[in-house]
């Protein structure tokens, strides 16, 4: 079983549109949406939810007003400035529990939070594991790990070949959680100075965690000079550029119709993504 995750560093480079198409092109696969705080893959795949589970994770401190003697020790020791006027601000609370351990009046308890939901859905392109992190919640990394673990179990049970996973932007906790242990990272970038800056950082993260990476330049014709420097950078660093996708409105048109580009048209974007998936499959099998 091989797991492909799409990353980008910079947001909005086209991760979901591309991986949605890969989901359609690949066979014997399970899909995982690891962008749990702004999940969009479901908008292309028309899933019907078959299982819904609560995601409980992390804790938040709660002060029992009747027991509290207002000694102020918790406020003094909390490093996250989460306690003011003997009241916990649940958004600032990091859930460390320090206050509950030191309260001389035993007035603070830690309560488990509902931090989101996760789902197993069926789509015409195979099962999809996706999630929704609670609003303003933490622990997105743990929810990502859970989504991946569920996808892996489905793949094992149904003897599937691939886990196709949509990753989050950035380089922090949810990205690390999506990436570590994957077979391949497909990094989608765009030929803008911001895109290049962020590409270098996310390739650094792939290298750090020992996951091989391949690069896809989306909207490559927006700035061909920048495209050339991305190719040069990748060549120098031994990373293959496996696709160059032109800018074309068919991507947004497909999205508006609620489907992937490869289903919507047979245009130049669709053709390039088909060749992209062939190259990825070769790499995974080679």
């Amino acid at each position: 079983m091989k797991e492909v995750v799409v990353l980008s560093g910079k947001g909005g480079t086209g991760k979901t549109s591309i991986i949605g198409s890969v989901a359609v092109l690949s066979r014997k696969r399970v899909l995982a949406d690891c962008d749990v705080d702004a999940a969009d893959l479901h908008l292309l795949l028309d899933p019907s939810i078959e299982e819904k589970h609560e995601f409980r994770s992390g804790q938040v401190a709660v002060i029992d007003k009747d027991k509290c003697t207002q000694c102020g020790l918790c406020q003094e020791l909390c490093r996250f400035d989460a306690i003011k006027d003997y009241t916990v601000d649940p958004i600032s609370c990091e859930g460390c529990g320090f206050c509950s351990h030191i309260c001389p009046a035993d007035a603070i308890v830690m309560e488990e939070c509902k931090a989101g939901d996760w789902f197993v859905s069926s789509t015409k392109h195979g099962p999809l594991v996706h999630a929704r992190l609670g609003i303003a919640e933490e622990n997105s990394g743990k929810l990502v790990a859970l989504v991946r673990q569920q996808a892996k179990e489905i793949a094992k049970k149904k003897e599937l070949n691939y886990i196709i996973s949509d990753g989050p932007p950035g380089i922090g906790c949810p990205v690390i959680s999506s990436l570590s242990g994957a077979s391949l990272a497909l990094v989608v970038t765009e030929p803008t100075l911001s895109g290049i800056h962020d590409l270098e950082r996310v390739l650094g993260v792939c290298k750090h965690f020992g996951v091989p990476a391949m690069v896809c330049i989306n909207k490559y014709d927006l700035n061909e000079e920048n495209t050339a420097s991305i190719r040069e950078y990748c060549q120098k660093n031994g990373v293959d550029v496996v696709a160059m996708i032109p800018f074309d409105n068919e991507v947004t048109e497909a999205m508006v119709r609620g489907m992937t580009v490869v289903e919507h048209s047979d245009g130049r974007v669709a053709k390039e993504i088909k060749s992209l998936w062939q190259k990825i499959e070769q790499k995974l099998q080679g």
């Binding site: 969009d40 460390c96 030191i102 932007p169």
Partner: protein, 288 residues
């Protein structure tokens, strides 16, 4: 006044808006631009500040004095993040899991735990043509962005008009960046992804109690559902930017919109005046 710039979906134009707003206001106001997208900061590419100071950001992680340690296991028991494990006669620490809360060192009965700094990134400060600039950068391989965002926000100069650029999404780094703002601009695009993620971002700013409005970028792609949603929810659309290859090309070269197309300056000033009016109106109604 503190204005944060956020979005659910990435790549909708936060950096374009934050940089253009700062550059449009700098001749009239004292402006500070803080890039709190510490995973992928990009404002410096457009503002080109002279960086004059760089400071490492670290969180305090435990260091065990094996001579004093009796392996009682208290530290591992109180750590909420599994960053300490006591196995037989050894204590193992995992600095990348540590949130730096300090519980272990405070609660160790033998006072065998001290704290040492673990560097997770840096902040840099400087100036660009009158704009006071600051940003944070998470080190490669480090998971935790919020401590760096908190550090960037210590730079806030309340005498200035502060513009904060946030990371995309709706989880802890975004909350950390937005909270405490007087106003939040949510930048989105009129596509199904843009709308889906805007709705999540709206729920987040509502929970934080920060007044907000929308910037709709790349008008001309997609559909009209985002505008319909904003109308239904009574959310003001404060600025629209058309889908224009020239704007995209300027962005790709690191040229701020208001420099490449100076006519946009007046639109960003107007945007600021509208924000100011909403914020002033809000504080007046609070006083009433």
């Amino acid at each position: 006044m503190i204005i944060s710039v956020a979005s659910g979906k990435g790549g909708t134009g936060k950096t374009l808006v934050a940089a253009s707003l700062a550059l449009s206001l700098k001749d009239t106001y004292k402006v500070q631009l803080l890039d709190c997208d510490v995973e992928e900061p990009n404002d410096h590419i457009f503002i080109k500040p002279d960086i004059t100071r760089s400071e490492a950001v670290s969180i305090p992680v435990p260091a065990i004095d094996e001579k004093k340690c009796t392996h009682c296991g208290k530290c591992a028991e109180v750590c909420a993040y599994n960053a300490i494990a006591v196995v037989a006669e050894h204590v193992l620490t995992f600095p990348e899991l540590c949130h730096g809360c300090g519980a272990c060192s405070y609660l160790c009965p033998e006072k065998a735990i001290s704290e040492i700094p673990n560097t997770i990134g840096k902040i840099e400060t400087g100036e660009a043509d009158g704009i006071i600039f600051g940003h944070g950068m998470l080190s490669i391989g480090q998971p935790m962005a919020p401590p760096i965002i908190r550090k960037v926000k210590t730079l806030i100069d309340k005498e200035r008009t502060v513009i904060i650029d946030s990371s995309p999404g709706t989880s802890c780094p975004v909350v950390e960046a937005i909270k405490g703002s007087d106003f939040c601009l949510l930048v989105t695009e009129p596509t199904p992804f843009g709308l889906n993620d805007l709705i999540l971002a709206v729920e987040t700013v509502r929970q934080l109690g920060v007044p907000f409005g929308v910037v709709l970028n790349r008008i001309g792609v997609g559909d009209s559902k985002t505008e319909e949603y904003c109308a239904k929810e009574n959310i003001p659309i404060l600025l629209t930017i058309p889908l224009d290859t020239e704007i995209a090309r300027l962005y790709s070269r690191g040229i701020p919109l208001v420099e490449g197309m100076p006519d946009w300056k007046s639109k960003f000033r107007e945007l600021f005046d509208n924000i100011k009016e909403i914020v002033d109106e809000g504080s007046r109604s609070l006083k009433r």
